[in-house]
Every structure is written in structure tokens, then in C-alpha cells.
Symmetry: D3
Subunit: 237 residues, 6 copies
Amino acid sequence: MNPDILRQLAGISTATATMQLLKRGLRNCFIRGARPFNTEHCQFAALAYTLRFIPMREDLSRVEVLADPEYPPRKAVEDIPPGMALVIDARGDLGAGVIGDILAARLQERGVAAVVSDGPVRDAAQVAAGKLPVFCAGAAAPASLNVHFGADLQRPIACGGVAVIPGDVLVGDSDGVVVIPAALAAEVARDGAEQEQLEGFLKQRVAAGHPTIGTYPPNPETLQAYNEWKNTAPHRQ
Amino acid sequence: MNPDILRQLAGISTATATMQLLKRGLRNCFIRGARPFNTEHCQFAALAYTLRFIPMREDLSRVEVLADPEYPPRKAVEDIPPGMALVIDARGDLGAGVIGDILAARLQERGVAAVVSDGPVRDAAQVAAGKLPVFCAGAAAPASLNVHFGADLQRPIACGGVAVIPGDVLVGDSDGVVVIPAALAAEVARDGAEQEQLEGFLKQRVAAGHPTIGTYPPNPETLQAYNEWKNTAPHRQ
Amino acid sequence: MNPDILRQLAGISTATATMQLLKRGLRNCFIRGARPFNTEHCQFAALAYTLRFIPMREDLSRVEVLADPEYPPRKAVEDIPPGMALVIDARGDLGAGVIGDILAARLQERGVAAVVSDGPVRDAAQVAAGKLPVFCAGAAAPASLNVHFGADLQRPIACGGVAVIPGDVLVGDSDGVVVIPAALAAEVARDGAEQEQLEGFLKQRVAAGHPTIGTYPPNPETLQAYNEWKNTAPHRQ
Amino acid sequence: MNPDILRQLAGISTATATMQLLKRGLRNCFIRGARPFNTEHCQFAALAYTLRFIPMREDLSRVEVLADPEYPPRKAVEDIPPGMALVIDARGDLGAGVIGDILAARLQERGVAAVVSDGPVRDAAQVAAGKLPVFCAGAAAPASLNVHFGADLQRPIACGGVAVIPGDVLVGDSDGVVVIPAALAAEVARDGAEQEQLEGFLKQRVAAGHPTIGTYPPNPETLQAYNEWKNTAPHRQ
Amino acid sequence: MNPDILRQLAGISTATATMQLLKRGLRNCFIRGARPFNTEHCQFAALAYTLRFIPMREDLSRVEVLADPEYPPRKAVEDIPPGMALVIDARGDLGAGVIGDILAARLQERGVAAVVSDGPVRDAAQVAAGKLPVFCAGAAAPASLNVHFGADLQRPIACGGVAVIPGDVLVGDSDGVVVIPAALAAEVARDGAEQEQLEGFLKQRVAAGHPTIGTYPPNPETLQAYNEWKNTAPHRQ
Amino acid sequence: MNPDILRQLAGISTATATMQLLKRGLRNCFIRGARPFNTEHCQFAALAYTLRFIPMREDLSRVEVLADPEYPPRKAVEDIPPGMALVIDARGDLGAGVIGDILAARLQERGVAAVVSDGPVRDAAQVAAGKLPVFCAGAAAPASLNVHFGADLQRPIACGGVAVIPGDVLVGDSDGVVVIPAALAAEVARDGAEQEQLEGFLKQRVAAGHPTIGTYPPNPETLQAYNEWKNTAPHRQ
């Protein structure tokens, strides 16, 4: 994917991105339950690298499996390419953390863009103190083996009620994380940037006392005013 | 409603208000899932102005409907009288925000007292930075059309598991929002103020080492001490 | 219980404690839904003193019962020995607070170690401003009588999906609260301290750029490096 | 609405109706939690007449209200036109029945087409013994006042997670109930009848040992065979 | 308790019993999730004998505990007096059965009135084939130890969202099970019998074509007709 | 796998199988929410063939995909070997059926052993009338595309809260379905058969009036009686 597209997407809000997707008929793209852990470090756009957990079974979820370099949750930490976002299907289970402070530190060090999950994180205070954008369902002390078994990497997954296909684009900010199908990324980036410029203008109008009806969404008069403003505001182009 | 009653109610806590309602046999008056978005700006008392969402249907929840000045969620923003609180029935659905930053800014500008919902808000960081008291179920980027259709205004609604009738009084603080039937507002205000004065005295007693048994709730000796304190504490009257 | 064990346990994280329990075959020991109310005051280890609520019934949950010195929720506040933790089974009901500011102040004054519940707290802002470690499911204004009746004290309870037997050890930190069976407390304390020392070393290795595979969990080479470090680092012993 | 359309719709399955709606972009049309109470009497198609409950509040949900001829849940029973279906928004609350045996008997006697709700029914055995098609969420003994207050009639409602607008067409069978927007009823009826004829043919093919791939959905060869069969099977036209 | 009261209560429906309780201000008395397992054998009234489960913990929920004659779930089967109903608090957990066919057969043989739980039953087909009234949340194969530990007997419990105090009266029929506080049993029995006689009359009126308004609830004219009917219908007295 | 093992497993109940697994430390093996659709046709043992759904996304879940012979949900129907059981991960979503009557008929015709899912089935009446053992979460009319997208075949899945690995053994009866790891199948079959023989004897003892304590589980005296009975009951060997 053209890195410019990711850069542009990192500059638009998830509210804008979901509106662009809605206009294209996609309603089910926002990951439920993945809240930004540190609102200072939550803005990102990156390709999805997926990890999938299935429910714990005592014969599978043994502590020894952690030492297996092929065990997917551990392999993921070293194999995910820098710049991508690790997305973890935890089935919304709140009983165990999907990563802890050591793995988070390593992911940050490796240049990973973000960690996103519908499950919690352990060592919450330390993870929140780092700079890695983490979106999760709160904190839980137990290791993932308490309730999960790591099934595989880079398969389509469910996360927070939405589909994530490896290579989809994830965009995050303080509202949470939206999934953008790869094929739509370029147009969402382009139209989203335009939408944000328009909304910036509309916010000024509302702040100046205009009623929202006629302004948001804009009627023809407002649109004309916007176009004039755009033409006479060279710094916005 | 006598504005003095609202002023008095804005001065008592929701914990006090719910206790006064419990004493009158009302147990189901606290809106579940509506957390204060900004604890600096969460204390209010106001009459309820209601907006009701029903589930999304693709033939109804089209983006074009936003431009219709009669579409209830947009009409509400301009029609709610200043000083009232907008209460939104979102059926507890966490998949979409019920308002975003532009509408919140307009509601604040129009002098609305608060926004209360069992659904989330979009553009969370910007909304939280404003001064409008907002009580909601967290943040979600998608617009309401993603999961809702705006059904009507000023009808009785369900919000967070409780009934809200237009004209009920809402009182909010850092614990959340309580619904007070209009007919009970005056007596809750009066007896709530008295309860708060008493509890202020009891807190001093507990802080001074008195056991809670006999103090909270007060036995006759404690009540007598309270009455003496009240009579000799002219600044409290 | 030997107070040294509690002191040691207060020094290890809940992530470490749950891992030690997992190694002993215990997976279901972390209380779900009990979040630290004040992350400045959340680290503790203490014996469990239990209070159990059952659902409200109008003939039982009358306001008058609060004045009964034998009513369990009130008796608990005065009878729990200093240094113990009050654990409250609220069945995860979010509709009422299990304690408020006056009872929290009294518990703090009496030297109680912590309050832990799968239900919310009322007077949230005041409770959070105190120094008593409180772990709960958020804030709710109504008194417990709105949805509960106090059943008994010092019986086995369910809290956040796990069993708590009076005399179990509770350990809390910013991730939440773990329940350690009394019979396992000494070995969890001992092996947990060792685990934390090892993980401290591993964190340094990861920070220095070592891949997590081979480091966490440590392979024989890493373990040997750890043992050398331990032997030559007298300040750690 | 043309009664022929309702007659046609009563002859197609809800599986067929939802597929026709999906082809038109409508995915959220099946009422969750409304199971047929009596599979002998569950096939119907009728216009929706809506009743809406909001949560119980003790000052509203008094037994005396039942004697008020304007109380919506009672007024509905006498005012709903024969041939229409009563749809009741119970917010999925399982704690009280939305109707009991006396009201069900009256609705049957008045020629009502069906009762549909996401809440339970009381006097379950007697209601199931009647001939009125009832779709509900099981049985519960308490009257609706225990957990509800009747808010209004003939407003848009939510039922089982979907929108129901007065005048929408409801179609029910042993799978449950689907909501068809009035504007789409005619084409769903027409294309649904064609789909059922085709699927009847495909079932014969599958029963005769054809693999489903190429048969269901049909490839060009299968479609040609279908068209020939249709032309030579005059009884099907 | 006077056995006549239980006999009378066994003759009224749970719909009637809950209405009598509502008239006395009790709304939260119907056990959610306890469905009759065999509608041929579900009518009963009996005193409650309680068993309480707490969540499984691996050090407690060992198979060996089943051989301990003091283990509450096994002790209950032999200690519950004939004629009483065993009520089991399973916290609504659907992952394990609370009893199986052997224990059910023994309870039936010992003359126990019913088994009631918000959890499932194992060996469902065999249990349903017996004559013991069982109300439960479906079927599940695992033994209770898989998710529970038996905590104690004859303590107040929560079952299906309601309080059950040992000695309360349980009444069951095809709608489910209602809990009647012991102190109210006599008046509910008396007024419930009267209500059923009245409703029998009203059903005849509705069947004869009377509108429900004015009939149910009865207005003065209908009440007068009822009283006349009662006086001239000696067989009903 | 030795077909004798499957034959033996088909002869033991799921209650027995889960107890054998519990004795080996496996507690999480019973699929929640998969109820037998037709209790006449529910007993089976077979190897698991898995199908995995992820959440619907409008760009993926298009009707056209059904015609793709590689689309996993359709490919599964023709590729699953006779004698195996199709297990479908539907994330417990109740909004759409995972199969309908045509696919069920084809699976039955192809000699598939069973269909198991934590989602519902469409065309419920027709499917229930067939002889294919189906375990599901009720009925729902919409096609799977309404809420799902078919992700892949023969990967590890979650179903009803438990892990299912391709090649695991599934055993079903009227209680539901249990998952047996392949490596444990032989010993569960052997010890399960012995357990059933013992329990058959114990049932006779209980039916003859023996108290359950000392009988179930058996104490040494009961065990001795069992062994004598076994030796003198040649028809049982």
C-alpha cells in the first residue's frame, strides 16, 4: 500500500472514516470494546497483522507452550513487520490479558504501529506508560493462557464484532479503531480529508452562531460559502 | 417548574436524590450506563427533553435523512429549549455515537443544560474538552445512522433501564444521572437539602471516630446532637 | 497468617500472582469487574472478610433495616478487623453502590486494607479522593437497598466470577484483584518474588534489544545469564 | 395494502422473505427472540400495529392504571383492527409477560392475525392451547406492570433488535417473524414466490443426488433445467 | 406452615400469585430462567430448602469432594425433608448441570416436592421422564464441579434474580416459579383463590364477546354480575 | 481413528464423557448453546470438521459469493467426508441461520454424522423433520450472509465457548455436545463404558431405596457389591 495513503488516513478522525465507509454502504467497521489505553498515544493508521485466540483447553493451554517459538502469540511479537498493527481476536473475554508489559515493550521497540484487541491487557500501568498505541478492553492480570489458546496468525478474524482481514487498514484515535478494507483505503483517505476540511469550516459557522440545520449537513448556501472560503484560504489547500 | 426547585436540586447529590426517592417507594430511577464524560462539568438539574432512536434499517437510516430539518435527532438540537437536558434513548447500543463534536458545540452554545444517553458519543476528545455536561456510555466513532434511526421527540422513553417522561427532572453529578418525577421534585429538593445537612454533620462525627452504628443512620442521641448543632450553627441555616 | 507473607505478596504484581497460581493449576482466581478506583492507592495484600448481598425484595430491603446493628452490611463496617479486606458479592449488579463516602471514610479510619466488589460505589468522587484502596465496577448513586438485601457475613461468596473463602488472601494492584487460597499464599509469595526478580532481568534484556523468543520465557542461555547476573548483583539479594 | 400481497406473503417462508430483503440491501429485519409459541398456528402475514412499553416506575406502574380505558396496553386489545398483528416492544425484558390468557382470547376472538413480542407471555399453557399465532420470548408469570409501563400505540418501535413502523408487513412461520417495509411488500411477495418455486425444484435435484455446488445457487445449466421443468410443469404455474 | 395454605397455593397459578404480590408492593418474586422441564409434572407449592453454589476453583472443586457426606450438594439430597422444594443458586451459569438422573431419582423417591434452579440439569432426557417437578435453565452434560463448588445449605440465596429465604413458599406451574414470603402465604392463598374465581367468570364473559375494557379489570357493572353469578352458582363456593 | 472407539463413544452419554474429562483435568469441553434439534436423532460420535464464520462486512458478505465453489460454507457441504461432524463457529450470534433445509438435506444424503453450532438454523421445521442430528441455538430465518462471512475450513475454532480442533471427537446426545481431544478418545471410551456399567448398578441401588451417600459415589461396601454383581451378571460383560 502506498505509504501516502496511510499518512493521510492517520490524519483523519475515526468519526470521519466511519462516515466515509457508511457512504459506501459499510456499517459494521468499528471495533467495539477497544478503548485507547493512553489518549496521548492513540492516533495511528497501519495495516492489520492478525492473531487469533480460541478458548482455553487444559490440554492445549499449558505454560510450557510459551517456550515454543512457533506458538502464535509469541511468534507474532517477533514476526510482525514494523509499521503494522497487531490485531488480536480475544472473543471479548475479559478474564485475561492478551499482552503484558514485556511484550508491549518489545513491540514498541520493534516499531509496531499499535496493538488492538477486544480483550484486556495485563501490567496495565506499565503498558499505559509506554508510547505504543494500545486499544483494549481494560486491564486483567491473568496471562492469556488462563482463558485462551493461540490458534493462528494472519487469518481473517473477528475483533469487537467486526471482520478484520490481514492487509485491511486500521485507523485509531481517541474514539477507538475503525477497519477500512484495503480496496477502499485510497478513496476514504481522499474524501475523508475533504470532509474534515469542510467540517472545520462548519464548526466555525456553528461557533459563530449558525443553527446546525442548513449548516450540518450543509445546504447549497452553506456549501457555496464553503467553496468561497476554500478558494480564498490558500493555506488550507 | 419553579426554578428554585431546580436550583436546590442542582445542589444535592444523586446519592441523596435516590435515597429520597427510595423513601417514597421509587427504586428504579438511576440511569445505568450514563457516566459523566467530564467530571469538571457534570453537576446539573434540568427538565428532560427526550429523543428516541430505534434500530437501524437500511431503507430508513440513509445519510440523506440528515439534511431533513424534521429528522428528529437534528430537529432536537435546534428545538430543545435552553436550560433543558437532552435525554437520548439509544437502547444501550455501543456501536455508534449519539452526538458528535459539532452538535455538542451547538447544544452548549444554545444553553442546553446537559446531554444524557445510554449510548456513546463520537469525537470523544473534543466533546470532553467542552463545558457541556455529557453523560454517556463511552466513545464510538460511527454516526448514529450506523445502528439507529431517529424515531421521535418528546415521547416517554427508556434510558439506561429507567423511564423518562418529558418534563421529569434530571439531576446529574459524578455518580451519574437520576430521574425525578415532576410531581416529587419539590419534596425531594426540600428533604434532600435537609438530608445533606444531616449527613454533613454525621461525616464530622465519623471523622471524629464515632462508629457508624448509632451514627449512620443516626439513633436518638445522635439526632439530638445534630439538632443542637443545627441550632447553634446559624451559618448552616 | 504470618504477616511476612502478606508483606511479600503486597510487593508482587497481580500478573505475577496469577501466573504462580496457573502453574499450580488454578485458572479462575481473578475478580472480573473490580477496577481500582484510585490508581495511587491500589496496592495491597490482605485476608478476605466477606459480605454477601442477595437480590432486593421489597419486604426485606426496607430503609428501616439500616438502623439494625445486626444488619450485615452495617455490622461489617464495624466488625471487620483492621488490616483485612472487605469483599462484597454484589452479583455484578450495576444498579446500586455497595458503599458510599461515609462508610468508606469509616473503613479507612478503622485501618481496613481495601474494599473489593463486583458492584459499583456511590459518592464516587469523594471515595476516590480518599486513601482507601477501592476496587469496584464504577459508580452508581442508589443505595444498596435499591437492588440488594444484605444476607450474611464471613460465608464463602462469589465475587466477579470467582470463589472467595473467608481467610483467602487478596492481592490488588492497578490490574485488579487476585484471590490466593490461604494454603498457597506462602509459596506464591516466595516463587512470585523470584519470578519478579527474573522478569526484571528479562525486561532489561528486551530493552537492550533481545528478541522475546529465547528471552521470555528464558531458554537455558538466558537463564544462565540471569544466574550470573544474580550472583554478581549483590544489591538484588 | 392490497390483500393479495398479504395472501402471497403468507405463502412464503421467512427464510425466503429475508433473502429477498437481503438482495435489496436490508439485513436487519428479523425479530430476535420471538419464537413461535405454537408451531401449529404460526404462519401469517399482516400489517403491524405497535405497542410500546418503557421500564416500570413505581409511580406510573400502579395496578389501578389497568382500569383506565386509555391505558395503551389495554386500549390496544380493543382498538387494533381485525387482521392486523400486535407487535409489542418489551425491550427483551424476560421478567414479565406482555399478555396473558384473557387478552389473548380476546385478540383471537377479535380476529387479530398474531401477537409478536421480544418479551414473554403469561398463562403460557392456556395461550399455547389457543389458535392465535403468538411469537414471544418464552413464559413469565408476572403481569407487565411488574417491569413495564405502557407508553403508547402506533409509534415506531424496536422489537427484538429491529425497527417496526406501523404499517410494515410482518410475516411469521416456524423460524420466527420478519419485518418487511410496506414499500417493498409487493416485490418481496412476487420475487419470493418465484424463489420458492425455484427452490422447490432445487430440493428435488439435491434429493436426487446432485451436489449443492452448481445447484444451490443454480449455475446456468441448472437454471436451464429449471426453466424447462417450469414450462413443462403446468401445475406449477 | 399450615398444610392447607400450601394446598390452596398449589391450586392457583403463578400468574395469580405474582399479581397478589404486586398488589402488596412486591415486584421481584419470579425466578428468571427456571423453565418447567416436564409440563405434565410442574404444578406444586412447597417450602424452600436452599443450596448455594459458588464459582469453581480447582483446589476446591475436586472430584473427591463428592464422597464427603458433608459436601452440601450431596448432603442436601438426603437431608431435605419430604414435601419441601430444593432451590439451587447456580448464578445462572449454563455450563454445568446442578443435578443428574441419579440424584433426581433419589429426590423423587424421598418425596421431595420439586427442584428449582437458574442452572441446567444433566441427563436431561432421563430427568424429564421422571415425575419430579424440575424447573431449570435447560440441559448441560458436565457435572456441577466443572463450574461450581457447593458452598452451603439453608442460607438465603439468589436464584434467577430473586431472593429466596429458607422457609419461603415456592409455587410452580407451566409459567415457572414464584417465591412467596412466608408471612404473606396465607393471604396470597386466600385472595388468589378469590381472584381465580373472578377471572374464571371474566373469561366466560370475554369468550361470550364482551370487550376487555370494563370486563378485565371489572368495572362496577361487571363486578355486580360476578357477585350475582357467585351467589347463584353454589358449586363454586 | 479406530472406528471401534467412535462406536464405543456413541454408546456413552455426554454426562459420562464430561466426567471422564474432568477426572483428567479438562473442565472446558461442553459446547454451550448447542441444543439437540430433534431428540429422536441426536446420539452420535464423530470426528470434527470445522467451519468458521467471522462478522458480516458489506463488501464481503455479498449474495454473489454463494455461487463461488470455493466459498467455505458451501465448499464444506461437499467436501466434508461422510461420517464426520460439521462444527460451525457462529460466535453465538442469534441473528442468522448457519444452514437451511437444502444444505441439511444434502449433508444427510452425504452421510455426514451431525451438524453442531452455537448459532441457529433456518427452515427449522424442515430441518427438524430430517434424520440428521443437528445441535444449534434455535431457529432464525436470515441466511448466514446477513450477519456472517465464511472465513475458512478445518482450522481450530471456538464453538459455544470451547476449543474445537479438526480431528477432535464430538459426542452428542440429548444434553448437547462434548468435545474430546483425539489423544484422550480411547481412554474416555474405555473408562466411560465402565462408568456407565457402574452407574447402571448404582441406579438400581438408589431405585431400591439406598441413600445416595455411600452409593453415589460408591463407598467400599457398594463397590464390593458392584464387583460381585458384575461377576455374577455374565450378560453385562
